[in-house]
């Protein structure tokens, strides 16, 4: 069995898969992906599938725009469908204060080249006729935002990586990482591997994988619950986000409504079990926003983990100056799927060229964490 690789990637989710794909595009095929369960078993396989560019920090907007650039080319480039649709994201403002914040954010987003507008409640009603806009103050809308299937996107990247000779080890748990003569010894329950580079793309378990080299990185796992309804004829194009009530929801390509909420009282944990509070709470929110869909049937609720960072922005790049070859691709705070093409590209360039070339992501590294210089992302459910 193979026992060494140029790059060892911890985590078979979208972040690891994307990084592996972009590494092969840069000619690095000697890759091993360590996945403790099955591909997409962590956050990716439980994700709601939104692809959004409307963020409050310039760093997130730029990453998301670059990702959409790649998503738009994904199906052709990889010859693999992932149910991609671009019907926009409609962000709802229910107070004047929210509207003012949206206006400022939209201005910043426009300055970065994003096609986005602050729209009136009448416009919102036209974009989503089924939406209850009675108390709406304004909304922001970006038509190139959209939806995709995160599992299929992961599997597509992985199929291409395997074709290039990359190795995926499912049901292989990394148990320890040791420094060994300028390289790393990755110990797993299936044997030891020597890797020149390590990419920690372990999502909710990222902190544990950093601890294996003695680092304490400020990310934590947090359960977020979600549900899907029976499939219906497509009636709602955009993803709806309502920060005021803490709700997001969309109608996926196959017709089911997928929705989740932010629960500020959710404690840190790895658990992904289902609770009744969620189903009761989201039913109130959904039937308020879409009174016409009161009798749509809920098929199934489930849950997944966010890997939450202090400012809700990803943490990318070397874990420290002492371990420049131990890379992080963590802390996505619920947005790993939509940012994955850009972050995968960035960390792949970091490994191959010593720094990212396509984008400047110097403000998303561990340095801001050490300095406490945070640019808080506010548009998080």
């Amino acid at each position: 069995m193979k026992n060494s690789a140029a790059v060892g990637i911890i985590g078979g989710g979208i972040s690891g898969a994307s990084a592996a794909y972009f590494l092969t595009k840069l000619g690095v095929n000697d890759i091993v992906i360590f996945e403790k369960s099955y591909l997409s078993s962590g956050s990716t396989g439980r994700c709601g599938g939104g692809i959004r560019q409307q963020w409050t920090t310039p760093a997130n907007v730029k990453l998301a725009m670059r990702s959409v650039h790649h998503f738009e080319r994904y199906e052709e480039e990889l010859d693999f469908g992932f149910d991609y649709v671009q019907k926009g994201y409609l962000l709802l403002a229910f107070t004047d204060k929210e509207k003012a914040a949206f206006a400022k954010t939209v201005e910043m987003q426009k300055s970065l080249g994003l096609k986005v507008d602050l729209v009136t409640k009448e416009d919102a009603k036209e974009i989503v006729p089924h939406l209850n806009t009675s108390e709406l103050v304004a909304a922001s809308f970006c038509p190139t935002d959209g939806l995709g299937n995160p599992f299929l996107a992961t599997y597509g990247y992985i199929e291409r990586v395997k074709e290039k000779g990359g190795t995926v080890l499912n049901h292989t748990r990394v148990t320890a990482i040791e420094r060994k003569g300028g390289e790393y010894l990755v110990r797993t329950d299936k044997g030891d591997f020597t890797c020149k580079y390590i990419l920690n793309a372990a999502g909710p378990w990222a902190r544990d994988c950093a601890e294996m080299l003695g680092y304490d990185i400020p990310v934590k796992p947090e359960r977020h619950q979600i549900l899907v309804t029976e499939p219906l004829e497509r009636m709602v194009g955009p993803m709806i986000i309502d920060f005021y009530h803490g709700f997001y929801g969309s109608q996926e390509k196959k017709g089911g409504f997928v929705m989740g909420e932010g629960d500020p009282s959710e404690p840190e944990s790895y658990k992904v079990s289902s609770h009744w509070k969620f189903i009761e709470s989201i039913a109130r929110k959904f039937t308020y926003l879409f009174p016409g869909f009161r009798d749509v049937k809920i098929l199934r609720q489930w849950a997944g983990s966010y890997c939450v960072s202090p400012d809700a922005q990803p943490i990318l790049g070397p874990i420290s100056d002492n371990d420049p070859n131990y890379m992080l691709s963590v802390g996505y705070s619920g947005h790993g799927f939509m940012l994955a093409p850009a972050t995968g590209e960035a960390v792949a360039e970091w490994i191959v060229h010593g720094k990212p070339r396509t984008m400047d992501i110097s403000h998303l590294t561990m340095e801001r964490i050490r300095k406490g210089d945070f640019d808080q992302e506010h548009n998080v459910v």
Partner: protein, 614 residues
């Protein structure tokens, strides 16, 4: 949130049996049942029951639930009809859904008894998703509980007791049963049930199976075919039968979704219908406060379900420190239950229940001995092959005895005697398999791989399979148990060849046949129309984990949440990879157990959502 001592999920024989005991013990009891009427399957059983006369024998099933309700202490009882249990959440709170009022409520019970019954199995054949194809239980509900006939010309698939009884009931209701086809050479049910059908002029075709349903928008005909002794369709023996309804009576499987949700340890036992909860003889599961009873605890018959329900009710009372003489009550019920589980069918249930109960008990006449006798059984851990003779009847026949050079099979002077097998003399040559005209001798051997057994099957069809071929391994009823791989094929001059397949050791007493792999366009996931071919292709592309397959193809994500297709898909993964998928994840069962509308969660008259909700 509703608070109660006991929540009983399911108002069938098991649930009602449980409620008798809990209400008599003075416990506040809520029984929820998703149907309009209590009684579960009892309300459709218009025939008279077998059993002991002290326990309703001779009474028609439809009358039994009234008898049971009469026995309860009504003051402590709350019966909620048309109310489903949708979830057991992670904190043990149950979610119930009142269909009529469209209301979701939470229930906090000190004890929860899951008596959710069973659902029907289905079989893959072409166009098996056409409207007009029903399970026999569904037909019974429509007809006997709803007063609606599903069609006028019915073809029944399966001559077990359910198939025979439902056919009889269809005739009683005025429908025409155009035929009963049965893949086995003999009915699975009782002679008396068959005789009733036959004397009313219904053709019963043994050795026949369904190939396809035909019709544009609904069933217009069925294509059936004769199969040979090896259950293989015989060329030129297909025929088209006009009918508007195809009724499948091919077995039951426990309804287990809530048990999975509740974190109960589940085990796969074909003899009990599939996944069953680990429980002890007092019906307690490994999860404190969760008890089971009836078909949900393993497929059985109605009288044993009542007894299991009573046991579960008693255990709930005991756990809640009710004062009574439990020893005698338990003993009476357990003795009666044991009595119901004798005989050739009963023993299989008993043996399987002993596995569930973790009870080490010698059971005489276990599955492989059947009607024929065993003088000395194979020693545990035996490496060389041995045989199993499944010859139940007094057929004048003795080639098996003659074929054995080692006198391991004895029949004696009177050749109608059943064969007597002596494992200590058996060398494992398997010559007798090819000699038996009834194809009733099978070989069993350890494969050398842990947990894997090689089953050698007499095989008389062409083309012969080849080593490494994938096949569907079938049980005695022709039901697909899992996928298997051909281990070897031994040709014999008399043309009864020996085909050996590798299966999981736990199935060695169940698998007796196999059929060539795959009808590519047979629908496996019926909710989402995902075919056998699509699943095979995905597995071959490397999506070999059940959870990956679920995400890649969306299998089991439809409204039934995998109830009918999960086990078939697991079998396909196993055949495609050699890895036993039940050792890993089988998919997470999530609330709600059956779909329900948002409006059920939103109180009428109360403003939903809105700014005050922040």
């Amino acid at each position: 949130m509703i608070k109660t001592d006991v929540l009983i999920v399911g108002g069938g024989p098991a649930g009602l049996g449980a409620a008798i005991e809990t209400t008599k013990a003075g416990l506040r009891t809520i029984v929820v049942d998703e149907n309009q009427r209590l009684g579960g399957q009892l309300i459709k059983q218009t025939h008279k029951f077998f059993g002991s006369s002290s326990h309703f024998a001779g009474t028609r099933g439809i009358l039994i639930q009234d008898e049971l309700v009469k026995e309860m202490e009504k003051g402590n009882l709350k019966l909620l009809e048309e109310t489903a249990c949708s979830a057991i959440f992670d904190d043990g709170i149950a979610g119930i859904y009142d269909v009529k009022r469209n209301r979701f409520e939470k229930v906090k019970a000190k004890r929860t008894i899951i008596a959710a019954g069973a659902s029907e199995k289905f079989i893959p054949f072409r166009n098996n998703d056409l409207p007009g194809i029903y399970g026999a239980g569904g037909v019974q509900t429509l007809m006997n509980a709803g007063g609606v006939l599903p069609g006028k010309k019915i073809l029944m698939i399966g001559a077990g007791n359910i198939g025979l009884i439902v056919s009889y009931q269809l005739l009683q209701a005025g429908a025409s049963v155009v035929g009963i086809i049965e893949a086995a050479p003999k009915q699975g049910g009782y002679e008396v049930h068959l005789a009733k059908i036959k004397r009313m002029g219904v053709p019963v075709l043994f050795n026949h199976s369904i190939i396809a349903a035909e019709g544009k928008d609904k069933v217009e005909a069925a294509v059936i075919g004769e199969i040979d002794k090896n259950w293989k369709f015989i060329d030129g023996k297909q025929r088209r039968i006009e009918c508007d309804t195809i009724c499948l009576a091919v077995g039951l499987t426990p309804t287990s979704e809530l048990l999975w949700q509740a974190g109960v340890e589940m085990m796969y036992l074909p003899a009990l219908g599939g996944y069953v909860p680990r429980h002890n003889e007092y019906m307690q599961t490994n999860v404190p406060g969760i008890l089971v009873a009836g078909d949900a605890a393993g497929i059985g018959e109605a009288t044993s379900a009542i007894i299991e329900g009573r046991l579960a009710g008693l255990s709930a009372a005991k756990g809640l420190k009710v004062k009574m003489d439990f020893g005698k009550r338990y003993n009476d019920l357990l003795t009666y239950l044991d009595g119901l589980r004798r005989g050739s069918t009963g023993f299989k249930v008993k043996a399987a229940k002993n596995t569930v109960w973790n009870k080490k008990e010698e059971i005489k006449g276990d599955a492989f001995a059947r009607g024929s006798k065993t003088k000395r059984a194979p020693e545990p851990g035996r490496k060389k092959p041995y045989i199993v003779i499944e010859c139940d009847e007094d057929i004048p026949c003795n080639p098996c005895e003659a074929s054995c050079s080692f006198k391991a099979i004895e029949i004696g002077q009177d050749i109608t005697n059943p064969p007597v097998f002596d494992a200590e003399k058996c060398t494992g040559c398997l010559k007798c398999i090819t000699s038996c005209p009834g194809l009733a001798i099978f070989g069993i051997a350890e494969s050398g791989e842990p947990g894997k057994t090689v089953i050698s099957i007499p095989y008389e069809m062409l083309p012969l399979p080849e080593k490494g071929d994938k096949v569907w391994a079938c049980g005695r009823e022709g039901e697909i148990i899992c996928e298997a791989v051909v281990h070897s094929v031994r040709k014999s001059p008399n043309k009864t060849h020996i085909a050996s397949i590798i299966v999981d050791g736990e199935y060695k007493n169940d698998i007796r046949h196999f059929i060539p792999f795959s009808a590519k366009d047979a629908v496996i996931c019926r909710c989402l129309d995902i075919t056998c071919g699509e699943i095979e292709e995905a597995i071959s592309r490397g999506y070999t984990d059940f959870e990956e397959l679920k995400r890649y193809l969306r299998v089991t994500t439809g409204p039934c949440q995998g109830r009918t297709c999960r086990s078939i898909i697991m079998g396909m993964i196993k055949a495609g990879t050699g890895i036993d998928p039940s050792k890993g994840s089988t998919g997470t069962r999530r609330p709600p157990e059956a779909s329900l509308p948002f409006s059920a969660f939103v109180k009428k008259g109360r403003r939903s959502g809105g700014k005050n909700e922040k």
